[in-house]
Protein backbone atom coordinates (compact mmCIF):
# COMPACT_ATOMS: atom_id res chain seq x y z
CA UNK A 1 0.00 0.00 0.00
CA UNK A 2 1.65 3.20 -1.18
CA UNK A 3 0.23 6.72 -1.09
CA UNK A 4 0.38 8.81 -4.26
CA UNK A 5 0.18 12.63 -4.24
CA UNK A 6 -3.59 12.47 -4.86
CA UNK A 7 -4.07 10.28 -1.78
CA UNK A 8 -1.96 12.68 0.29
CA UNK A 9 -4.13 15.56 -0.95
CA UNK A 10 -7.24 13.65 0.18
CA UNK A 11 -5.73 12.98 3.66
CA UNK A 12 -4.71 16.64 4.01
CA UNK A 13 -8.26 17.65 3.11
CA UNK A 14 -9.66 15.31 5.78
CA UNK A 15 -7.15 16.71 8.29
CA UNK A 16 -8.04 20.30 7.30
CA UNK A 17 -4.43 21.23 6.59
CA UNK A 18 -3.63 23.28 3.47
CA UNK A 19 -0.82 21.60 1.54
CA UNK A 20 0.71 23.23 -1.54
CA UNK A 21 1.00 21.04 -4.65
CA UNK A 22 4.79 21.21 -4.53
CA UNK A 23 4.81 19.67 -1.04
CA UNK A 24 2.68 16.65 -1.98
CA UNK A 25 5.43 14.37 -3.38
CA UNK A 26 7.73 15.12 -0.40
CA UNK A 27 4.96 14.36 2.09
CA UNK A 28 4.03 11.21 0.17
CA UNK A 29 7.62 10.00 0.49
CA UNK A 30 7.73 10.66 4.25
CA UNK A 31 4.33 9.13 4.96
CA UNK A 32 5.11 6.07 2.82
CA UNK A 33 8.35 5.54 4.69
CA UNK A 34 6.48 5.54 8.04
CA UNK A 35 3.59 3.40 6.76
CA UNK A 36 5.98 0.92 5.15
CA UNK A 37 7.77 0.46 8.45
CA UNK A 38 4.45 0.02 10.28
CA UNK A 39 3.62 -2.90 7.94
CA UNK A 40 5.78 -5.10 10.22
CA UNK A 41 2.71 -5.44 12.46
CA UNK A 42 1.19 -7.68 9.78
CA UNK A 43 3.53 -10.49 10.89
CA UNK A 44 1.97 -10.58 14.41
CA UNK A 45 -0.64 -13.26 14.99
CA UNK A 46 -3.63 -11.37 16.41
CA UNK A 47 -6.22 -14.15 16.06
CA UNK A 48 -8.66 -14.05 18.95
CA UNK A 49 -6.94 -11.05 20.60
CA UNK A 50 -9.23 -8.30 21.92
CA UNK A 51 -8.19 -4.73 21.03
CA UNK A 52 -6.88 -2.57 23.89
CA UNK A 53 -8.08 1.03 23.51
CA UNK A 54 -6.63 2.50 26.66
CA UNK A 55 -4.92 1.75 29.92
CA UNK A 56 -6.03 -1.54 31.43
CA UNK A 57 -8.24 -1.97 34.46
CA UNK A 58 -10.10 1.29 34.02
CA UNK A 59 -13.83 1.46 34.68
CA UNK A 60 -15.88 4.30 33.29
CA UNK A 61 -16.36 7.02 35.89
CA UNK A 62 -19.91 8.35 36.10
CA UNK A 63 -21.07 11.64 37.57
CA UNK A 64 -24.47 13.17 38.21
CA UNK A 65 -26.00 14.61 35.02
CA UNK A 66 -26.13 18.19 36.28
CA UNK A 67 -24.56 21.49 35.27
CA UNK A 68 -21.38 21.76 37.34
CA UNK A 69 -19.42 24.49 35.60
CA UNK A 70 -19.88 27.59 33.47
CA UNK A 71 -21.51 30.99 33.70
CA UNK A 72 -18.39 33.01 32.81
CA UNK A 73 -18.53 34.02 29.13
CA UNK A 74 -15.68 36.52 29.51
CA UNK A 75 -13.27 33.76 30.56
CA UNK A 76 -14.50 31.45 27.79
CA UNK A 77 -14.13 34.16 25.15
CA UNK A 78 -10.92 35.69 26.49
CA UNK A 79 -8.71 33.86 23.95
CA UNK A 80 -11.02 34.17 20.93
CA UNK A 81 -9.18 35.38 17.80
CA UNK A 82 -12.34 37.37 16.98
CA UNK A 83 -15.65 37.85 18.78
CA UNK A 84 -18.90 39.76 18.63
CA UNK A 85 -20.58 40.25 21.97
CA UNK A 86 -20.74 36.83 23.65
CA UNK A 87 -20.18 34.95 20.38
CA UNK A 88 -17.21 33.51 18.46
CA UNK A 89 -17.12 34.66 14.85
CA UNK A 90 -16.49 32.66 11.67
CA UNK A 91 -16.72 33.58 7.98
CA UNK A 92 -20.27 33.61 6.62
CA UNK A 93 -21.41 29.97 6.20
CA UNK A 94 -25.00 30.42 4.92
CA UNK A 95 -25.86 32.93 2.19
Amino acid sequence: MSLDPAAVRRIAKLARIRVDDAELPVLAGELNSILGWIEQLNEVNIDGVAPLAGAPGMTQALRADVVNDGGYPERVLANAPDREGDFFTVPKVVE
Binding site: R18, L52, M58
Partner: protein, 491 residues
Protein backbone atom coordinates in the same frame (compact mmCIF):
# COMPACT_ATOMS: atom_id res chain seq x y z
CA UNK B 1 26.42 26.93 47.57
CA UNK B 2 22.84 27.27 46.36
CA UNK B 3 23.63 25.48 43.08
CA UNK B 4 24.55 22.37 45.06
CA UNK B 5 21.12 22.13 46.68
CA UNK B 6 18.93 19.19 45.85
CA UNK B 7 15.21 19.75 46.33
CA UNK B 8 15.36 17.83 49.62
CA UNK B 9 18.36 19.75 51.00
CA UNK B 10 16.90 23.11 49.90
CA UNK B 11 13.69 22.20 51.70
CA UNK B 12 15.62 21.43 54.88
CA UNK B 13 17.51 24.74 54.61
CA UNK B 14 14.25 26.65 54.10
CA UNK B 15 12.67 25.01 57.13
CA UNK B 16 15.70 25.82 59.28
CA UNK B 17 15.57 29.38 57.90
CA UNK B 18 19.17 29.07 56.71
CA UNK B 19 17.96 30.61 53.47
CA UNK B 20 14.79 32.44 52.48
CA UNK B 21 12.54 31.44 49.62
CA UNK B 22 13.16 34.86 48.08
CA UNK B 23 16.97 34.41 48.17
CA UNK B 24 16.57 30.97 46.62
CA UNK B 25 14.20 32.27 43.94
CA UNK B 26 16.40 35.26 43.09
CA UNK B 27 19.38 32.92 42.73
CA UNK B 28 17.53 30.81 40.14
CA UNK B 29 16.12 33.85 38.31
CA UNK B 30 19.66 35.27 37.97
CA UNK B 31 20.94 31.88 36.77
CA UNK B 32 18.13 31.75 34.17
CA UNK B 33 19.00 35.31 33.01
CA UNK B 34 22.60 34.20 32.48
CA UNK B 35 22.12 30.76 30.94
CA UNK B 36 18.74 30.75 29.19
CA UNK B 37 20.13 32.74 26.23
CA UNK B 38 22.51 29.77 25.75
CA UNK B 39 20.25 26.82 26.61
CA UNK B 40 16.77 28.10 25.56
CA UNK B 41 15.30 25.88 28.27
CA UNK B 42 12.47 28.31 29.08
CA UNK B 43 9.91 29.71 26.63
CA UNK B 44 8.50 32.10 29.24
CA UNK B 45 10.10 33.27 32.50
CA UNK B 46 7.82 34.74 35.17
CA UNK B 47 10.12 36.62 37.60
CA UNK B 48 7.45 38.89 39.15
CA UNK B 49 5.10 35.99 39.80
CA UNK B 50 7.96 33.86 41.20
CA UNK B 51 9.05 36.64 43.60
CA UNK B 52 5.46 37.18 44.78
CA UNK B 53 5.11 33.42 45.42
CA UNK B 54 8.48 33.44 47.23
CA UNK B 55 7.40 36.30 49.48
CA UNK B 56 4.22 34.40 50.33
CA UNK B 57 6.28 31.26 51.01
CA UNK B 58 8.57 33.17 53.37
CA UNK B 59 5.53 34.49 55.24
CA UNK B 60 4.17 30.93 55.53
CA UNK B 61 7.52 29.59 56.75
CA UNK B 62 7.71 32.43 59.32
CA UNK B 63 4.33 31.28 60.62
CA UNK B 64 5.73 27.74 60.91
CA UNK B 65 3.65 26.46 57.98
CA UNK B 66 5.75 23.89 56.13
CA UNK B 67 3.95 22.56 53.07
CA UNK B 68 5.66 19.68 51.27
CA UNK B 69 7.14 22.16 48.74
CA UNK B 70 6.93 25.55 50.48
CA UNK B 71 9.49 27.86 48.86
CA UNK B 72 10.79 25.36 46.26
CA UNK B 73 11.39 26.96 42.81
CA UNK B 74 10.33 24.74 39.88
CA UNK B 75 10.10 24.86 36.08
CA UNK B 76 6.75 23.92 34.54
CA UNK B 77 6.72 22.23 31.13
CA UNK B 78 4.83 24.56 28.79
CA UNK B 79 2.23 21.86 28.20
CA UNK B 80 0.59 22.43 31.62
CA UNK B 81 -1.99 25.22 31.57
CA UNK B 82 -1.09 27.94 34.06
CA UNK B 83 -3.77 30.50 34.91
CA UNK B 84 -2.86 33.92 33.53
CA UNK B 85 0.50 32.71 32.15
CA UNK B 86 0.87 32.00 28.44
CA UNK B 87 0.88 28.29 27.61
CA UNK B 88 2.13 27.47 24.11
CA UNK B 89 2.82 23.71 23.86
CA UNK B 90 5.83 25.07 21.87
CA UNK B 91 3.47 25.63 18.92
CA UNK B 92 2.74 28.73 16.86
CA UNK B 93 -0.93 27.78 16.98
CA UNK B 94 -1.03 28.37 20.77
CA UNK B 95 1.42 31.29 20.78
CA UNK B 96 -1.19 33.81 21.99
CA UNK B 97 -2.99 31.42 24.40
CA UNK B 98 -3.30 32.53 28.04
CA UNK B 99 -5.29 29.90 29.96
CA UNK B 100 -7.97 31.21 32.32
CA UNK B 101 -7.49 28.07 34.45
CA UNK B 102 -4.76 26.03 36.16
CA UNK B 103 -3.98 22.38 35.37
CA UNK B 104 -4.68 20.03 38.28
CA UNK B 105 -1.03 18.93 38.55
CA UNK B 106 0.33 22.49 38.69
CA UNK B 107 -2.50 23.49 41.08
CA UNK B 108 -1.45 20.60 43.36
CA UNK B 109 2.14 21.92 43.36
CA UNK B 110 0.94 25.46 44.18
CA UNK B 111 -1.26 24.04 46.96
CA UNK B 112 1.88 22.49 48.46
CA UNK B 113 3.78 25.80 48.35
CA UNK B 114 5.91 25.53 45.16
CA UNK B 115 7.24 28.56 43.29
CA UNK B 116 7.01 28.63 39.47
CA UNK B 117 10.02 30.20 37.71
CA UNK B 118 8.54 29.88 34.23
CA UNK B 119 7.44 27.61 31.40
CA UNK B 120 9.92 25.07 30.04
CA UNK B 121 10.54 24.48 26.33
CA UNK B 122 9.52 21.18 24.68
CA UNK B 123 8.99 19.54 21.31
CA UNK B 124 5.88 20.99 19.64
CA UNK B 125 2.84 19.36 21.29
CA UNK B 126 5.36 16.99 22.96
CA UNK B 127 5.97 15.26 19.60
CA UNK B 128 9.67 14.57 19.34
CA UNK B 129 12.75 13.08 20.96
CA UNK B 130 15.27 15.92 20.63
CA UNK B 131 13.36 19.14 21.44
CA UNK B 132 14.18 20.21 17.88
CA UNK B 133 10.54 20.56 16.80
CA UNK B 134 9.77 23.47 19.16
CA UNK B 135 8.44 26.55 17.38
CA UNK B 136 10.48 28.55 19.90
CA UNK B 137 13.82 27.05 18.86
CA UNK B 138 15.75 24.00 20.04
CA UNK B 139 16.96 23.46 23.61
CA UNK B 140 20.70 22.91 24.08
CA UNK B 141 21.93 20.09 26.33
CA UNK B 142 24.08 21.45 29.20
CA UNK B 143 26.41 18.49 28.60
CA UNK B 144 29.06 18.39 25.87
CA UNK B 145 31.38 15.59 24.78
CA UNK B 146 34.83 15.70 26.35
CA UNK B 147 37.11 17.92 24.26
CA UNK B 148 34.33 18.76 21.80
CA UNK B 149 32.13 21.81 22.31
CA UNK B 150 29.58 21.02 19.58
CA UNK B 151 26.02 21.45 20.80
CA UNK B 152 24.00 18.35 21.70
CA UNK B 153 20.24 17.81 22.02
CA UNK B 154 18.75 17.38 25.52
CA UNK B 155 16.34 14.69 24.31
CA UNK B 156 12.62 15.22 24.20
CA UNK B 157 9.94 16.02 24.44
CA UNK B 158 10.62 17.39 27.95
CA UNK B 159 13.99 18.82 26.82
CA UNK B 160 13.55 22.21 28.50
CA UNK B 161 12.57 20.62 31.82
CA UNK B 162 15.58 18.28 31.72
CA UNK B 163 18.09 20.95 30.61
CA UNK B 164 16.82 23.41 33.27
CA UNK B 165 17.22 20.88 36.08
CA UNK B 166 20.61 19.59 34.82
CA UNK B 167 22.01 23.13 34.49
CA UNK B 168 20.79 24.02 38.01
CA UNK B 169 18.21 26.54 36.77
CA UNK B 170 15.47 24.93 38.90
CA UNK B 171 15.28 22.37 41.71
CA UNK B 172 12.84 20.24 39.74
CA UNK B 173 10.41 20.38 36.86
CA UNK B 174 7.12 18.98 35.68
CA UNK B 175 7.22 16.90 32.52
CA UNK B 176 5.00 14.55 30.54
CA UNK B 177 5.68 11.19 28.93
CA UNK B 178 3.69 9.74 26.01
CA UNK B 179 6.41 7.46 24.60
CA UNK B 180 9.50 8.31 26.66
CA UNK B 181 9.39 12.11 26.95
CA UNK B 182 10.37 12.14 30.65
CA UNK B 183 12.80 9.21 30.73
CA UNK B 184 14.83 9.78 27.53
CA UNK B 185 15.66 13.48 28.25
CA UNK B 186 16.46 12.56 31.88
CA UNK B 187 18.92 9.96 30.54
CA UNK B 188 20.44 12.44 28.03
CA UNK B 189 20.89 15.14 30.72
CA UNK B 190 22.21 12.98 33.59
CA UNK B 191 19.24 13.43 35.94
CA UNK B 192 16.29 11.39 37.21
CA UNK B 193 12.70 11.29 35.98
CA UNK B 194 9.67 9.08 36.48
CA UNK B 195 6.63 8.39 34.33
CA UNK B 196 4.14 7.10 36.89
CA UNK B 197 1.35 4.61 36.20
CA UNK B 198 -1.28 5.84 33.74
CA UNK B 199 -3.98 7.47 35.90
CA UNK B 200 -1.67 8.37 38.80
CA UNK B 201 -1.58 12.08 37.83
CA UNK B 202 -4.54 14.00 36.46
CA UNK B 203 -4.36 14.97 32.79
CA UNK B 204 -6.83 17.83 33.31
CA UNK B 205 -5.37 21.08 31.98
CA UNK B 206 -2.44 19.33 30.27
CA UNK B 207 -2.47 19.99 26.52
CA UNK B 208 -3.46 16.60 25.08
CA UNK B 209 -1.29 14.63 22.62
CA UNK B 210 -2.33 10.94 22.86
CA UNK B 211 -4.84 10.65 25.67
CA UNK B 212 -4.49 6.90 26.35
CA UNK B 213 -0.69 7.25 26.71
CA UNK B 214 -0.03 10.76 28.13
CA UNK B 215 1.06 10.85 31.76
CA UNK B 216 2.61 13.64 33.84
CA UNK B 217 5.59 13.11 36.10
CA UNK B 218 8.57 14.89 37.65
CA UNK B 219 12.18 15.45 36.56
CA UNK B 220 14.73 16.24 39.28
CA UNK B 221 18.39 15.67 40.17
CA UNK B 222 17.82 12.77 42.58
CA UNK B 223 15.45 9.84 42.99
CA UNK B 224 14.26 11.20 46.35
CA UNK B 225 13.53 14.63 44.80
CA UNK B 226 11.37 12.91 42.16
CA UNK B 227 9.55 11.03 44.93
CA UNK B 228 8.82 14.27 46.82
CA UNK B 229 7.52 15.97 43.65
CA UNK B 230 5.38 13.02 42.54
CA UNK B 231 3.80 12.92 46.01
CA UNK B 232 2.49 16.44 45.38
CA UNK B 233 1.59 16.03 41.69
CA UNK B 234 -0.34 12.75 42.02
CA UNK B 235 -3.86 12.10 43.25
CA UNK B 236 -7.41 11.45 42.11
CA UNK B 237 -9.15 14.21 40.16
CA UNK B 238 -12.87 14.01 39.32
CA UNK B 239 -12.16 16.31 36.33
CA UNK B 240 -10.16 13.52 34.61
CA UNK B 241 -12.27 10.39 34.16
CA UNK B 242 -9.10 8.30 33.68
CA UNK B 243 -7.56 9.55 36.92
CA UNK B 244 -7.27 6.65 39.38
CA UNK B 245 -9.07 6.83 42.69
CA UNK B 246 -6.16 5.21 44.55
CA UNK B 247 -4.45 6.66 47.62
CA UNK B 248 -1.05 8.31 47.07
CA UNK B 249 1.56 6.48 49.17
CA UNK B 250 4.66 8.03 50.77
CA UNK B 251 6.97 7.74 47.75
CA UNK B 252 9.94 9.33 49.58
CA UNK B 253 9.73 6.68 52.30
CA UNK B 254 9.73 3.98 49.60
CA UNK B 255 13.15 5.22 48.42
CA UNK B 256 14.61 3.95 51.68
CA UNK B 257 13.14 0.43 51.45
CA UNK B 258 16.13 -1.24 49.84
CA UNK B 259 15.98 -4.07 47.30
CA UNK B 260 16.84 -7.06 49.51
CA UNK B 261 14.81 -10.06 48.36
CA UNK B 262 13.34 -8.30 45.30
CA UNK B 263 13.28 -10.21 42.02
CA UNK B 264 14.55 -8.02 39.16
CA UNK B 265 13.78 -9.14 35.60
CA UNK B 266 16.13 -8.64 32.64
CA UNK B 267 14.10 -8.70 29.39
CA UNK B 268 16.26 -10.40 26.78
CA UNK B 269 14.50 -8.61 23.89
CA UNK B 270 15.98 -5.27 25.03
CA UNK B 271 19.38 -6.49 23.86
CA UNK B 272 20.22 -5.66 20.25
CA UNK B 273 23.30 -6.11 18.12
CA UNK B 274 23.59 -2.43 17.24
CA UNK B 275 23.42 -1.23 20.85
CA UNK B 276 26.69 0.48 21.88
CA UNK B 277 28.86 -1.86 23.98
CA UNK B 278 29.13 0.70 26.79
CA UNK B 279 25.33 0.66 27.26
CA UNK B 280 25.41 -3.14 27.56
CA UNK B 281 28.30 -2.82 30.05
CA UNK B 282 26.44 -0.25 32.14
CA UNK B 283 23.32 -2.45 32.12
CA UNK B 284 25.37 -5.37 33.46
CA UNK B 285 26.91 -3.03 36.05
CA UNK B 286 23.43 -1.98 37.17
CA UNK B 287 22.36 -5.62 37.56
CA UNK B 288 25.51 -6.32 39.54
CA UNK B 289 24.79 -3.37 41.88
CA UNK B 290 21.29 -4.68 42.52
CA UNK B 291 22.61 -8.21 43.11
CA UNK B 292 25.13 -6.81 45.61
CA UNK B 293 22.28 -4.99 47.39
CA UNK B 294 20.43 -8.27 47.87
CA UNK B 295 18.18 -8.54 44.81
CA UNK B 296 17.80 -11.66 42.72
CA UNK B 297 18.31 -11.21 38.96
CA UNK B 298 15.99 -13.20 36.67
CA UNK B 299 16.09 -13.51 32.87
CA UNK B 300 12.64 -12.85 31.39
CA UNK B 301 11.06 -12.49 27.96
CA UNK B 302 8.81 -9.74 26.57
CA UNK B 303 8.33 -11.24 23.11
CA UNK B 304 6.35 -8.34 21.56
CA UNK B 305 8.86 -5.64 22.52
CA UNK B 306 10.04 -5.24 18.91
CA UNK B 307 6.52 -4.25 17.82
CA UNK B 308 6.14 -1.51 20.45
CA UNK B 309 7.36 1.39 18.31
CA UNK B 310 5.31 0.51 15.23
CA UNK B 311 2.22 0.09 17.41
CA UNK B 312 2.94 3.45 19.03
CA UNK B 313 3.21 5.16 15.64
CA UNK B 314 -0.36 4.12 14.85
CA UNK B 315 -1.98 4.65 18.24
CA UNK B 316 -0.32 7.97 19.14
CA UNK B 317 -0.89 9.73 15.77
CA UNK B 318 -4.49 8.42 15.67
CA UNK B 319 -5.23 9.94 19.06
CA UNK B 320 -3.27 13.09 18.19
CA UNK B 321 -5.22 13.65 14.96
CA UNK B 322 -8.40 13.54 17.01
CA UNK B 323 -7.12 15.68 19.91
CA UNK B 324 -5.58 18.33 17.66
CA UNK B 325 -8.80 18.75 15.67
CA UNK B 326 -9.71 21.36 18.31
CA UNK B 327 -7.17 23.84 16.89
CA UNK B 328 -9.45 25.45 14.34
CA UNK B 329 -8.69 29.18 14.70
CA UNK B 330 -12.15 29.92 16.07
CA UNK B 331 -12.26 29.65 19.85
CA UNK B 332 -8.65 30.24 20.94
CA UNK B 333 -5.14 30.27 19.56
CA UNK B 334 -3.81 31.74 16.34
CA UNK B 335 -6.04 32.26 13.26
CA UNK B 336 -5.18 32.71 9.61
CA UNK B 337 -8.17 34.03 7.69
CA UNK B 338 -9.68 32.36 4.64
CA UNK B 339 -12.44 33.07 2.13
CA UNK B 340 -14.76 30.55 3.80
CA UNK B 341 -14.84 28.45 6.97
CA UNK B 342 -13.00 25.44 5.49
CA UNK B 343 -10.27 27.68 4.12
CA UNK B 344 -9.97 29.37 7.52
CA UNK B 345 -9.42 25.96 9.13
CA UNK B 346 -6.93 24.83 6.49
CA UNK B 347 -4.93 28.07 6.52
CA UNK B 348 -4.89 28.28 10.32
CA UNK B 349 -3.61 24.72 10.67
CA UNK B 350 -1.10 25.00 7.79
CA UNK B 351 0.46 28.10 9.37
CA UNK B 352 0.08 27.06 13.01
CA UNK B 353 1.49 23.51 13.04
CA UNK B 354 5.11 22.51 12.37
CA UNK B 355 6.22 19.74 9.99
CA UNK B 356 6.36 16.87 12.53
CA UNK B 357 2.94 17.70 13.98
CA UNK B 358 1.43 17.83 10.48
CA UNK B 359 3.00 14.47 9.61
CA UNK B 360 1.55 12.84 12.70
CA UNK B 361 -1.91 14.37 12.20
CA UNK B 362 -1.90 13.06 8.63
CA UNK B 363 -0.73 9.57 9.62
CA UNK B 364 -3.43 9.53 12.30
CA UNK B 365 -6.08 10.76 9.88
CA UNK B 366 -5.11 8.05 7.41
CA UNK B 367 -5.08 5.11 9.85
CA UNK B 368 -8.51 6.16 11.17
CA UNK B 369 -10.05 6.75 7.73
CA UNK B 370 -12.71 4.54 6.17
CA UNK B 371 -11.19 1.38 4.68
CA UNK B 372 -7.95 1.52 6.70
CA UNK B 373 -9.27 1.61 10.27
CA UNK B 374 -9.29 -2.18 10.77
CA UNK B 375 -6.03 -2.81 8.93
CA UNK B 376 -4.07 -0.24 10.93
CA UNK B 377 -5.82 1.07 14.03
CA UNK B 378 -7.64 -2.06 15.25
CA UNK B 379 -4.62 -4.23 14.44
CA UNK B 380 -2.41 -1.88 16.49
CA UNK B 381 -4.83 -2.05 19.42
CA UNK B 382 -4.65 -5.85 19.31
CA UNK B 383 -0.85 -5.79 19.32
CA UNK B 384 -1.10 -3.35 22.23
CA UNK B 385 -3.08 -6.04 24.07
CA UNK B 386 -0.24 -8.50 23.45
CA UNK B 387 2.37 -6.00 24.73
CA UNK B 388 0.33 -5.57 27.93
CA UNK B 389 0.02 -9.35 28.29
CA UNK B 390 3.82 -9.68 28.04
CA UNK B 391 4.21 -7.36 31.04
CA UNK B 392 1.36 -8.97 33.01
CA UNK B 393 2.95 -12.41 32.54
CA UNK B 394 6.40 -11.20 33.55
CA UNK B 395 5.19 -9.31 36.63
CA UNK B 396 3.74 -12.58 37.93
CA UNK B 397 7.37 -13.67 38.30
CA UNK B 398 9.37 -10.52 39.12
CA UNK B 399 8.91 -7.29 41.11
CA UNK B 400 10.55 -4.91 38.64
CA UNK B 401 12.56 -4.83 35.40
CA UNK B 402 15.89 -3.18 34.65
CA UNK B 403 16.75 -2.00 31.11
CA UNK B 404 18.74 0.79 29.46
CA UNK B 405 16.64 3.98 29.09
CA UNK B 406 17.72 4.85 25.54
CA UNK B 407 19.77 3.15 22.81
CA UNK B 408 22.34 5.98 22.77
CA UNK B 409 23.70 8.98 24.66
CA UNK B 410 22.75 12.53 23.59
CA UNK B 411 23.41 13.22 19.90
CA UNK B 412 24.30 16.38 18.02
CA UNK B 413 21.89 19.19 17.27
CA UNK B 414 20.58 18.70 13.73
CA UNK B 415 21.44 15.00 13.59
CA UNK B 416 18.72 12.42 12.82
CA UNK B 417 16.40 15.13 11.51
CA UNK B 418 16.40 14.08 7.85
CA UNK B 419 14.58 10.80 8.50
CA UNK B 420 11.65 10.76 10.97
CA UNK B 421 12.11 7.00 11.52
CA UNK B 422 15.65 7.51 12.86
CA UNK B 423 14.31 9.93 15.46
CA UNK B 424 11.53 7.52 16.43
CA UNK B 425 14.06 4.78 17.39
CA UNK B 426 15.14 6.86 20.42
CA UNK B 427 12.02 5.64 22.20
CA UNK B 428 12.42 1.90 21.51
CA UNK B 429 13.01 1.04 25.20
CA UNK B 430 10.55 3.53 26.69
CA UNK B 431 7.43 3.15 24.50
CA UNK B 432 6.33 -0.29 25.80
CA UNK B 433 5.68 1.14 29.31
CA UNK B 434 3.27 3.69 27.81
CA UNK B 435 1.49 1.01 25.80
CA UNK B 436 0.97 -1.02 29.00
CA UNK B 437 0.35 1.97 31.31
CA UNK B 438 3.06 0.85 33.77
CA UNK B 439 5.48 3.13 35.71
CA UNK B 440 9.03 3.67 34.46
CA UNK B 441 11.93 5.68 35.85
CA UNK B 442 15.29 6.72 34.42
CA UNK B 443 18.20 7.15 36.82
CA UNK B 444 21.71 8.30 35.84
CA UNK B 445 24.11 5.37 36.09
CA UNK B 446 27.34 6.31 34.35
CA UNK B 447 29.17 8.04 31.50
CA UNK B 448 29.97 6.85 28.00
CA UNK B 449 33.43 7.06 26.43
CA UNK B 450 32.75 10.69 25.44
CA UNK B 451 31.86 11.67 28.99
CA UNK B 452 28.11 11.85 28.32
CA UNK B 453 25.56 10.55 30.86
CA UNK B 454 23.67 7.28 30.36
CA UNK B 455 20.56 6.26 32.24
CA UNK B 456 19.10 2.96 33.36
CA UNK B 457 15.35 2.40 33.31
CA UNK B 458 13.39 0.70 36.11
CA UNK B 459 9.94 -0.59 35.11
CA UNK B 460 7.36 -1.59 37.72
CA UNK B 461 3.90 -3.03 38.20
CA UNK B 462 0.86 -0.77 37.79
CA UNK B 463 0.53 1.54 40.83
CA UNK B 464 3.70 0.12 42.38
CA UNK B 465 5.88 3.22 41.95
CA UNK B 466 7.18 2.48 45.46
CA UNK B 467 9.19 -0.53 44.25
CA UNK B 468 10.39 1.51 41.26
CA UNK B 469 11.67 4.21 43.64
CA UNK B 470 13.36 1.60 45.87
CA UNK B 471 15.19 0.02 42.91
CA UNK B 472 16.12 3.40 41.37
CA UNK B 473 17.46 4.57 44.73
CA UNK B 474 19.64 1.44 45.00
CA UNK B 475 21.10 2.21 41.53
CA UNK B 476 21.65 5.87 42.44
CA UNK B 477 23.37 4.99 45.71
CA UNK B 478 25.67 2.48 44.03
CA UNK B 479 26.40 4.62 40.96
CA UNK B 480 27.59 7.65 42.95
CA UNK B 481 26.94 9.76 39.87
CA UNK B 482 28.49 13.13 40.74
CA UNK B 483 29.75 14.41 37.37
CA UNK B 484 28.23 17.76 36.44
CA UNK B 485 27.46 19.18 33.00
CA UNK B 486 29.85 21.70 31.46
CA UNK B 487 27.13 24.37 31.26
CA UNK B 488 25.60 24.98 34.70
CA UNK B 489 24.80 27.75 37.13
CA UNK B 490 27.47 28.52 39.67
CA UNK B 491 27.25 30.05 43.12
Amino acid sequence: MISDFTLASARAALRQRDISALELTNHFLTAIDTLNPVLNAFITVTPDLARAQATAADAALARGEHGPLTGIPLAIKDLFCTAGVRTTAASRILEPFVPPYESTVSANLLRDGAIFLGKANLDEFAMGSSNATSAFGPVINPWTRAGDNRQLVPGGSSGGSAAAVAARLALGATATDTGGSIRQPASFCGIAGIKPTYGRCSRWGVVAFASSLDQAGPIARTVEDCAILLGSMAGHDPKDSTSANIAVPDFAAACRRGVKGLRIGVPREYRSDDMPAEIETMWQQGLSWLRDAGAEIVDVSLPHTKYGLATYYIVAPAEASSNLARYDGVRYGARTDGADLIELYENTRADGFGAEVKRRIMIGTYVLSAGYYDAYYIRAQKVRSLILKDFTDVFAKVDALLTPTAPSAAFGLGERMEDPLKMYFNDVFTVPANMAGIPGMSVPAGLDANGLPLGLQVLGKPFDEETVFAVAQAIETAAQFTTQPSIRAKG
